[in-house]
Amino acid sequence: MRLPDQVTGLFLVGLGAAAAYGGWLLPPVPGQPVGPNIFPLVIGSGLALCGLAIALGIGRTFEEEEEIVPLEAGQARPPTGRLYGLRALLPPALLLFYVAVADRLGFIITAALIVFVTSSALGARWKLSLPLAVMAPIFIHLIFSKLLRVPLPAGLLPMPW
């Protein structure tokens, strides 16, 4: 997901300006020259300046060329396509899935689903991902819930310990 520097730079200009403006709006502390507003103001302006510099291409010469590892014989070339790039969003999506359903389904079931999807997405066959989906949640539950006493949600399938 390599975006042109102009795009990221201008985004930072916007972010910085918004932060500076947001800081400007904060109420000052009565009787003091500075308050909670000064820091966002400084940071925001700095960020906007950096964004401008990046958009103009300053400092590009310092960047190292991305090292392209030569494909070794027998190694499959990764498929390229618009949808393939979206796979990267799977891990954060799974974490949000955990937030959404863990309380209802319980830790074990949610975790099993996460493990199964992650390992399948990374190319595991079901012979590996299914046993993994059974074992990994129990193992993690043992460590965090039993040993460290983290209150993991029991949900539909409470563990016997």
Partner: protein, 502 residues
């Protein structure tokens, strides 16, 4: 002195500390050796566990895991040419070339032996440097703290091997994240957008886990699986190491010293130490033409250097609460959590705990030799574990660990969000380490900045009036201008190409 030492021994000779240290060592060795799972990530995922340990045991796990992980990053570097941690990247090619020449034992042995030596040298520097610096630091006011924190952030941007402008932008993003919440000079909700969860601000640890762990799983989704490692039998690993030590004692010492200096600098850590030392070794070598063909000299120097920087990176952390690198940033979080708030008084009030930290560093570096040898022998099996069976565990640890930090689900949301932020930043050449240090140091830098401004009644002049403050200011501003100078220098050189044969 002797009493404190005995007290320190008593502190660390409990079963809890011993078991915690051993378990963390094994954990660090395994995570560090898996390509793509860095030492920082190993340490960050360990933090939720430290919540439930006693203060000394908690620090023991951090010390042991980070020390081991930095060494064991050398293993896949040597066997697969894929550095396990960024700190091993500087010499992964060299070590792999040695393996191809059939000298894998020598390369890995040098890794473990010179890492241990470097770690111990770094610890000695921590013991020697910290107390006198603490004396000086006692007279520091908010002005000095502001410049020191600023200098730390500038160093972090300087050492990032990317465009300095992008690094500074990354740092500003981190500082902006630190602005969120009501913990500010006015106590008003700032950038919370009415969300109660944001009132407490963004915790650094979930942000770290997101940036270093989730983003890594995201990258794994798009990159092909690294090639499986060929099975091999190893000969004696420590054979010949003593000979190397005698032959390359200057290189080793130089590596140690460079590592210590880079570690002490706030903001610069093990990766930088390894790169600088490797370059230095090549520059001053009697046989520079052998570099890159499987020559052990650079390995000695860089290996001695990156582990030295780990221990000395604790100097600014313990003294000022300013992290020497991202691992130290995590350590600071743990120190605060355990009531060992960083600061110069730590060395007088909690002297025995400080000695306990030194002792743990030395012990960790000594047990690294036997454990490291076992790890090298097992590496062929550990490295055969496919990514599809390791990454699911990382995912679960991210979810459960970030939940455990505050026992609330918002931590998990933070991790997911920072996973995306970290991934996008990295993909576009914005160094994430600069952002992380910005998040960790934001509150401190704002406090010292605003307090100083209130003291000076809004004037900027007093920032430069105190002597130490003026020196620190000069250094920090120098660090800011440095890239501009380099840029100008390159322009000049480009203008007269005949004058500069490289």
């Amino acid at each position: 002195m002797l009493n404190t030492l005995i007290e320190a021994f008593a502190l660390i000779s409990t079963w809890e500390v011993i078991i915690a240290m051993l378990a963390a060592s094994v954990y660090g060795l395994v995570i560090g050796s898996l390509p793509g799972l860095s030492a920082t990530m190993a340490t960050a995922l360990l933090v939720p566990v430290t919540f439930y340990l006693s203060p000394i045991a908690a620090i023991a796990t951090i010390v042991a895991a980070s020390t081991m992980a930095i060494f064991s990053g050398d293993i896949p570097g040597a066997l697969l040419r894929i550095p396990g941690t960024p700190a091993s990247a500087a010499y992964a090619d060299e070590a792999y070339a040695m393996t191809r020449k059939g000298e894998a034992e020598l390369a890995l042995g040098a890794g473990v032996w010179f890492s241990a030596v470097g770690g111990i040298a770094g610890t000695l520097s921590l013991m020697i440097l910290a107390p006198p610096l603490a004396e000086i630091a006692l007279s520091f006011s908010t002005f000095e703290y502001f410049w020191l924190a600023f200098l730390g952030l500038m160093c972090a941007t300087l050492v990032a091997r990317s465009s300095p402008v992008k690094a500074i932008a990354g740092m500003f993003i981190g500082l902006l994240v630190a602005c969120i919440g009501i913990e500010n000079p006015g106590g008003v909700p700032r950038f919370t957008f009415g969300m109660t969860n944001l009132f407490g601000g963004i915790e650094p640890i979930p942000a770290l886990v997101g940036v270093f762990a989730v983003a890594q799983v995201m990258r794994a989704m798009l990159t092909p699986e690294p090639p499986p490692i060929p099975k091999r039998k190893f000969g004696s690993i420590m054979a010949g190491q003593w000979r190397l030590t005698k032959k390359y004692r200057w290189q080793m010492t130089r590596g140690n010293i460079i590592g210590i200096i880079i570690g002490v600098l706030p903001g610069a850590g093990a990766d930088m130490a390894a790169w600088v030392s490797y370059a230095m070794s090549k520059r001053f070598s009697k046989e520079p033409e052998k570099f890159g063909t499987g020559h052990v000299e650079g390995l000695v120097e860089a290996g001695a250097s990156n582990n030295a920087s780990i221990a000395s990176g604790w100097v600014p952390s313990l003294l000022f609460g300013i992290p020497g690198d991202t691992i130290a940033a995590i350590a600071i979080g743990v120190l605060y959590m355990k009531g060992l708030n960083p600061g110069p008084t730590l060395f007088t009030e909690k002297a025995s705990s400080m000695y306990a930290i030194y002792l743990m560093f030395i012990i960790a570096n000594i047990i690294m030799i036997p454990l490291g040898i076992v790890m090298i022998r097992l590496a062929t099996y550990v490295l055969r574990a496919p990514r599809s069976s390791v990454m699911p565990f990382i995912m679960l640890c991210c979810a459960v660990g970030s939940f455990a930090i505050g026992n609330n689900m918002f931590g998990v949301v933070t991790v997911a969000a920072f996973g995306i932020i970290g991934y996008v930043m990295e993909a576009n050449g914005y160094p994430v380490a600069a952002m992380v240090l910005g998040i960790v140091m934001g509150t401190m830098i704002e406090q010292s900045f605003v307090t100083s401004l209130i003291k000076s009644d809004g004037s900027v002049l007093p920032f430069f009036e105190r002597p130490i403050s003026a020196i620190l200011a000069a250094l920090a501003i120098g660090a800011l201008i440095w890239p501009v100078l380099i840029w100008g220098w390159r322009r000049l050189k480009a203008a007269s190409p005949a004058a500069a044969p490289r």
